[in-house]
């Protein structure tokens, strides 16, 4: 099990910041040195089971995809990205989001399953916001989908409160010394959505274009919105 946490880190960084070649912790999962694919034992085992079941006509691949889709992707960070992009472009919506996030978010069709309340916290030059759940792993499911592995890990839950700047550094985010970091502890009743700062050079961009800049991590506060150069590349 050595390197397990690093692997998880790698996995999530890859999602949050886009692949850009070399990672600090390059473990065996990344075969940078050649171009072939690799299946782990478990990946291959599941594919093998699928193959047998398909050959015997016991599964309907479309139904399978629908199940995965329901649990994994229908609700995802894209919902939250839409909320953020709208707040960046529509001042009235941003104000509504600031005063009554639950209603503003619901107006876009995203409602929590258990009626939990949402609060949006806006990053500014002065303050960066970071969300954690120290008790368990409460997460704004309706806008961000399934929580990342690290969000549920005791290490993140404990350290985010004690040393948020250190946590951000682990995610590759270094903030100016003068920028304060405010940590928000979620509860079962109240979930937080971070509205990252709108990247420079995006004047006149459509909501859709802007939403592509909003990563999951930027809405938890462990990342920033993607700079425009990264998108153009």
């Amino acid at each position: 099990m050595t390197g397990k946490h690093h692997d998880d880190d790698d996995h999530d960084h890859a999602h949050g910041h886009e692949e850009n070649g070399h990672h600090a912790h390059g473990h065996d999962a990344h075969h940078d040195h050649h171009h072939d694919n690799h299946y782990s034992d478990m990946q291959a085992r599941v594919r093998a089971l699928e193959t047998v079941l398909t050959q015997k006509g016991l599964i309907d691949p479309q139904a399978l995809d629908a199940i995965v889709d329901t649990y994994e992707t229908k609700i995802g960070p894209r919902n939250g990205a839409q909320v953020v992009a709208k707040a960046w472009t529509d001042k009235t919506f941003a104000e509504w989001l600031a005063t009554d996030a639950t209603a503003a978010i619901a107006s876009l069709g995203f409602t929590g399953r258990q009626g939990e309340h949402m609060r949006a916290v806006f990053n500014t030059k002065e303050t960066h916001n970071l969300v954690v759940c120290t008790l368990c792993s409460c997460y704004p499911w309706s806008v961000l989908g399934l929580p990342p592995v690290w969000y549920k890990a005791p290490a993140y839950r404990a350290k985010a409160v004690i040393d948020p700047r250190g946590v951000l550094q682990e995610f590759g985010v270094v903030l100016p010394e003068a920028q304060k970091i405010r940590v928000w502890d979620s509860t079962a009743e109240l979930r937080y959505l971070v509205v990252p700062q709108r990247p420079a050079g995006t004047e006149g961009w459509s909501e859709e274009q802007l939403a592509d800049l909003v990563t999951r991590d930027s809405m938890i506060g462990t990342g920033l919105a993607r700079p425009t150069v990264e998108v153009a590349a």
């Binding site: 072939d36 690799h38 193959t51």
Partner: protein
């Protein structure tokens, strides 16, 4: 309370990593795939929920399992494999041979192209 689609009993498996709202959480896509396979086969009546629960419980409680539950889906896949063998759907040898075949196929497939079983050089 919940307006969402009713969840399969399989998604109530004890020990399944869950989000606070009760939806399963997956660390890697194969875990979601294994979960979906099980839900699907249970819904199609290949095995009952109690049969599944019994098999999963036996795998999860093996002494060699990690204490932090990090290999929960390994146990899940082992339980599914065992159940399929028991039902005469797929014996262990066939599955293992196919597993190795998929691994060879993956290695033989250039990056960026879909991995297909036919790419296994030994097939």
């Amino acid at each position: 309370m919940s307006q969402c689609e009713p969840l399969s009993p399989v998604s109530q498996s004890p020990g399944l990593p869950l989000s606070p709202e009760g939806a399963p959480a997956f660390a890697e896509p194969w875990q979601a795939q294994a979960f979906a396979l099980t839900v699907h086969l249970n819904e199609r009546g290949l095995f009952s929920w109690s049969e599944w629960a019994e098999n999963l419980s036996r795998e999860v409680h093996r002494p060699e399992r990690a204490e932090d539950g990090s290999d929960y889906f390994d146990a899940w896949v082992a339980a599914l494999s065992h159940l399929l063998a028991e039902k005469g759907v797929a014996d262990a040898e066939t599955v293992l041979a196919l597993q190795h075949s998929w691994q060879r196929a993956a290695e033989a497939t250039p990056h960026g192209q879909p991995i297909e079983l036919a790419n296994d050089p030994l097939r």
